[in-house]
């Protein structure tokens, strides 16, 4: 089982690095779909989650559907609609971003080793992945100009937080509320962002957030 | 009784002394000069004359001479001529007196401004300005006097065993004060080097220009008032030089008026040998007097402790 978990986690890490290096939006969305599926799968392979009831299984299926299909689908439609295919001028270049991702992994490892928390065996990598994903999400939001990329960054941030949640907490006292919350949040959040995205494109003829600097002092 | 007499004498002799100044100046100029009683003649002449009022003036213009004269007389009421107890005295009367004279100046100045004459306005401005500085100098002296004998009245300064004079303890400091007070005297009474009463150019005058429009008895009142004021200051200087009260009243009076005459002579000499200062140097001049007085006060701190 542990090998399985680790495999998934490595895939997630890879997807993070890829997303940092990718300049094509459609590729980015595909990566996010993959990452979403993997993130939703992670809890299933963890030891203390193994005794899932049937309700739990259904829940995770829905989760995979949403994270792996619905949201990427929405994003895909958005990308099509705004008809831009690539991030042209990132605020931080791709090589630098990739380098940042690597540094992030290193730092996450350091932090994980420093945190005085008794993690179950094999969870170190989970925590490393989680923190890296979270940091990379924030990084994408800061380092890219296109509004869609920022939405994707936000998704990654949520993925990271979700992973941290699964890594650190016992399932017993949350009663799926956490997952439910994250899902709802993601869903509605992305839908709203999608609507705004659409309107931004409509109003500004672009989804470049550098154009949105009217409101300042 | 003595007090009333001494006050009466002072009133009588006040116009005499300016004659001395004129005599001294004439002597220095190698001339014969006007008679000693010239000022009495002037007063009588003025009192006989009628009035001329400018159409610009109002009631204030008429009040001016009255207040000037009244305040000067009031100052004399409190002065212990020759160490003889004055008619009136109380703790704090010096403050009252200098403020009363301030009132005189106030009315003098506004009466001058009432004429709407640019020259009189100029004189008024100068009078007001130099007055503020002289006042500071005088109050600094009062500080010294208070520190010397703990009194706040003219009678307290100059009568009784504690009287302030050159011969008193710490009297040496008074030398500074005498010089300072003499300088203030010249400034306050519009003498050379601050003002030249004999000048003929209105632009350079202070006191004389302010009374250009006064006439007849009004002018007489102002003149008499300024004689009294001059006598007040001269007596002040004289009393600081020597404690006359230790002699009998008559002798004291005689000696005292001799000393006063000397002060007037000194004024006359100063007027003869000095030129009038440039107007912008006058503040510095009065400030010098203030500095001397202040210096004396500082020294007194060292001596009395």
């Amino acid at each position: 089982m542990i090998n399985m978990t680790n495999t998934i986690l490595v895939i997630i890490l890879l997807s993070v690095l890829l997303s940092l290096a990718s300049n094509r939006l459609s590729a980015l969305v595909r990566i996010m779909a993959l990452q979403g599926v993997m993130v939703s799968l992670t809890p299933l392979f963890l030891e203390h989650h193994s005794n899932l009831g049937s309700g739990g299984l259904i829940f995770f299926q829905i989760m995979i559907l949403i994270k792996g299909l619905l949201i990427p689908g929405l994003l895909f439609m958005a990308v099509r609609k705004v008809s831009i295919t690539r991030e042209i001028e990132p605020l931080i270049g791709y090589h630098a971003s990739l380098f940042f991702g690597l540094v992030c992994i290193l730092l996450s490892g350091y932090i994980t080793s420093r945190l005085q928390v008794s993690l179950p065996a094999g969870h170190e990598l989970l925590l490393i992945t989680a923190i890296t994903t979270l940091a990379a999400g924030l990084f994408l939001m800061m380092g890219r100009t296109k509004a869609i990329t920022q939405v994707i960054g936000y998704l990654m941030l949520e993925n990271g937080i979700y992973l941290i949640g699964t890594a650190l907490t016992k399932q017993s006292h949350t009663l799926y509320v956490v997952e439910f919350g994250v899902l709802l949040d993601l869903l509605v959040g992305v839908m709203i962002m999608g609507i705004i995205l659409h309107n931004i494109n409509h109003a500004f003829d672009d989804v470049d957030t550098t154009l949105m600097r009217r409101l300042k002092d | 009784m003595e007090s009333i007499l001494s006050f009466g004498v002072a009133l009588l002799v006040a116009p005499l002394f300016p004659g001395i100044i004129l005599k001294v100046k004439a002597f220095f100029a190698g001339k014969k000069g006007p008679p000693l009683l010239i000022k009495y003649y002037t007063l009588v002449k003025l009192l006989r004359k009628g009035f001329v009022y400018s159409t610009s003036t109002s009631l204030v213009f008429r009040m001016g001479p009255i207040v000037v004269c009244a305040t000067a007389l009031m100052a004399l009421l409190f002065f212990p001529f020759g160490g003889v107890a004055p008619l009136l005295f109380f703790q704090g009367d010096v403050i009252v007196l200098f403020y009363v004279m301030g009132l005189g100046r106030f009315f003098m100045v506004i009466a001058a401004l009432d004429t709407a004459s640019p020259f009189e306005g100029m004189g008024a401005a100068r009078e007001a300005f130099f007055g503020t500085l002289a006042e500071a100098s005088i109050f600094t002296m009062l500080i010294l006097f208070y520190r010397m004998n703990g009194s706040l009245s003219l009678a307290g300064y100059f009568t009784g065993p504690e009287a302030i004079s050159q011969t008193a303890p710490a009297g040496a400091l008074l030398l500074l004060v005498i010089v300072a007070l003499f300088m203030v005297l010249l400034a306050e009474n519009s003498r050379v080097p601050v003002d030249d009463p004999a000048t003929h150019l209105e632009l350079t005058m202070i006191h004389e220009v302010m009374i250009l429009d006064h006439s007849g008895p009004d002018l007489a009142l102002i003149e008499y008032g300024s004689f009294c004021k001059l006598l007040f200051y001269a007596s002040f200087v004289a009393m600081l030089i020597y404690p006359f009260h230790q002699f009998g009243p008559v002798l004291a009076m005689a000696l005292f008026y001799g000393a006063v005459a000397l002060v007037y002579v000194a004024i006359g000499i100063t007027e003869s040998i000095m030129a009038r200062l440039k107007m912008n140097l006058v503040p510095k001049y009065i400030l010098t007097s203030f500095t001397l007085a202040f210096f004396a006060v500082i020294l007194s701190m060292g001596i009395s402790q």
Binding site: L91, M141, M142, R213, L215, D217 | L47, G50, F51, V52, Y53, S54, T55, S56, S58, L59, V60, I66, V67, A70, T71, L73, M74, L88, F90, G92, I95, V96, Y99, V100, G102, L103, F106, V109, I110, L113, D114, A116, P118, F119, E120, G121, A125, A128, F129, G131, T132, E135, A136, F139, T140, I143, Y146, R147, E202, L212, D213, G216, P217, L221
Partner: protein, 652 residues
């Protein structure tokens, strides 16, 4: 306290009635005036009643936990007198002053806020604990802010009101800080706790409160708002603001001092130094100003300085165990509070009459008004004599007491001696400069020839306006000539205020009598000389003609000496403390057509405030506005940065 509160109730009703009935202009005016005067009369009367006067108490709990209480002691009673005396006179004056039925609502709003101000001031004075004082203080600031804003169409007025609001808010926060420290160590809102503070905390409390109250009083260098705000308001309001309201700052300082009961000489020394600075610089800037009302406002700074000198001497004397110095210092300061309220409101009313008649404020535009406005002119001269501290005006009486205190302080040693000496010299300089300044105002505005033809046709102020002025002018003289009851009353107040202080009653009585006789003697002398002059003027011809032009044959009224030139040489003597700026067009041709010259005197406190506080702060804040630059990416960066910083703090 029932009568007292009834009095305040009447006044407040008067204000509210004015608002309600503003459509019936005359009725509203008359009705509110009636209530205000009745209320003030009742208020004055209540001070004499045994159940209401000193030592009457009243308390209430507000919002479940906050205690409010009022009590009248002798100090409160003393400060209540000017409030109940000057405000109704201002209200009477206002009947004639604001007679434009078209601006009825505006006028009535003014009446409302004036009455509210009156009530608030009365409450400030009787406040019995920290909270009540702050509450009343804020109401006072607020109502006076709206009064300053009265002529809101002028930009200068808005600026003045703005400045005033900022200063009064800063002031009240400083006062709150001082009170908070008292609250902090006692845990109660009561005044009584202040006495139990440690000595160094007492100093801190006093200086905070002094800065807060001082900014209201107009103590240098916190006076900056005052010369802007007082001229901006209508004159009857300026009269109340300058005559009464700024005294609340003095009340606060005295009250804090008494509450703390600190024996640190530093307090007295500081008050003394502040007083000297305010006094000398206040009068100096007054000389340099040529707008009548602004000039009067600077004289308020000066007189606050004199009051502070008196109080400082009193505090120092109390610390040093010099009862004469202490008693006379306090008495002089307090009496000057009362006297200043009389002559300053008189002068502002006079200025208001001039402004109403001519519409002009600059002294160099006016002239010769005493012929057209004899009552105003003569009252103004009486006020000028009083404010210059000259006998027989009332200002002299209080200044004399302060001098008396100062001279008795000369027996001290060291730094205290130097300070006392400086105090005497400053008083002398202040007196001289004030006289110079008021000769300027009287001479240029009321005497001489009118500088404009239109000024020849102005009329005297109506009787609603003249009556208060005449009353106040006669108060000035009455106090000057019959000072004994006032001196005795103020000494009684001081004795109850500081019971430890024993001033020789005989000495007080003698000083009072002597001053009285000196004033009367002066009047007698004047009468005597008048008689003499009369005797010499019998059957004399009186000729009239133009002023002697010293040979110049075609004088014009523009050639009169102007206020600017009158004051310039004096002000330039004090150059480093008064910044003089001159604007001169220069002469470049042989026959110049027109040349312009102007000079203005700037307040160093204002310059310093701009240069060292406002500009740097505005510069730094302006740079910091970059924070909100619009980049969403960096906004997210802020969040991450904050996390990083907090985590670093957490782990380190």
């Amino acid at each position: 306290m029932n009568y007292f509160f009834a009095a305040l109730g009447l006044v407040l009703t008067g204000g509210v009635a004015a608002l309600i009935f503003h459509r019936q202009f005359l009725f509203a005016k008359g009705f509110s005036l009636l209530l205000t005067v009745a209320g003030c009369a009742l208020g004055l009367a209540s001070l004499a009643l045994p159940s209401d006067g000193p030592a009457a108490d009243w308390s209430l709990t507000w919002l479940q936990i906050f205690p409010l209480s009022c009590s009248v002691d002798s100090l409160s009673a003393f400060f209540l007198v000017p409030i109940f005396l000057i405000c109704p006179l201002a209200a009477v004056y206002n009947i004639g002053y604001q007679d434009d039925a078209g601006a009825s609502l505006k006028t009535m709003v003014g009446v409302f806020f004036l009455n509210l101000l009156l009530v608030a001031m009365a409450l400030v004075v009787v406040a019995g604990n920290l909270l009540t004082l702050l509450l009343a203080w804020e109401v006072m600031s607020l109502s006076s802010f709206f009064l300053v804003l009265y002529d809101f169409k002028k930009e200068t007025t808005r600026k003045a009101a703005y400045l005033y609001l900022v200063f009064s808010q800063a002031g009240v926060l400083l006062i709150s800080a001082a009170f908070a420290i008292i609250f902090g160590s006692t845990g109660s809102f009561l005044f009584a706790g202040a006495a139990t503070l440690p000595a160094d905390i007492k100093l801190l409390v006093f200086f905070l409160a002094c800065a807060g109250f001082g900014s209201k009083a107009g103590v240098f260098p916190l006076h900056i708002w005052l010369p802007h705000a007082h001229p901006a308001a209508p004159s009857h309001i300026s009269a109340v603001l300058s005559g009464v309201m700024i005294k609340m700052g003095i009340y606060g300082i005295v009250r804090t001092y008494l509450l703390l009961g600190s024996q640190d000489p530093l307090i007295g020394q500081a008050v003394l130094v502040l007083g000297m600075a305010s006094g000398v610089l206040g009068v100096l800037y007054a000389l340099g100003k040529h707008d009548i009302k602004r000039l009067l406002a600077y004289h308020s700074v000066e007189n606050i300085g004199i009051i502070m000198i008196g109080l400082g001497l009193g505090m120092l004397g109390a610390t040093l165990g010099n009862p004469v110095m202490a008693g006379f210092g306090f008495a002089g300061g307090l009496l000057h509070v009362f006297n200043h309220s009389i002559f300053k409101s008189l002068l502002f009313m006079g200025a208001g009459a001039v402004v109403k008649a001519t519409g002009l404020l600059h002294v160099d535009d006016l002239g010769g008004l005493i012929k057209q406005m004899p009552v105003t002119g003569r009252s103004f001269i009486a006020g000028s004599v009083s404010i210059s501290g000259l006998p027989p005006g009332n200002g002299f009486i209080s200044e004399f007491l302060i001098y008396f205190a100062a001279f008795h302080g000369l027996s001290e040693t060291g730094a205290n001696l130097i300070l006392v000496m400086l105090a005497i010299i400053s008083l002398a300089v202040i007196g001289g400069l004030a006289a110079a300044c008021f000769t300027k105002v009287v001479g240029i505005v009321f005497l001489g020839e009118p500088r404009h033809e239109e000024l020849r046709s102005v009329g005297e102020a109506g009787s609603w306006m003249s009556l208060p002025m005449l009353l106040l002018a006669s108060f000035c003289l009455v106090i000057g000539v019959f000072p004994e009851p006032f001196i005795n009353a103020v000494f009684r107040t001081v004795a109850q205020m500081v019971p430890a202080l024993t001033v020789d009653h005989v000495l007080v009585a003698t000083v009072g009598t002597n001053l009285a006789w000196a004033s009367r003697l002066l009047l007698l002398m004047v009468l005597l000389i008048m008689a003499v002059r009369k005797a010499f003027s019998l059957r004399k011809e009186v000729a009239r003609g133009p002023t002697w032009g010293c040979g110049f044959t075609r004088p014009t009224v523009r050639m009169q000496y102007s206020g600017t030139s009158y004051a310039l040489s004096i002000v330039s003597f004090y150059r480093p403390f008064a910044r003089i700026r001159t604007i001169w067009s220069g002469i470049d041709t042989i026959f110049p057509k027109q040349a312009a010259y102007a000079s203005r005197v700037d307040d160093i406190a204002e310059i310093a405030l701009h240069r060292f506080l406002v500009s740097p702060v505005a510069f730094v804040l302006g740079k910091l506005r970059w924070i909100q630059h619009g980049h969403i990416q960096l906004y997210i960066g802020y969040i991450i940065g904050t996390i990083a910083v907090l985590l670093l703090i957490f782990f380190l």
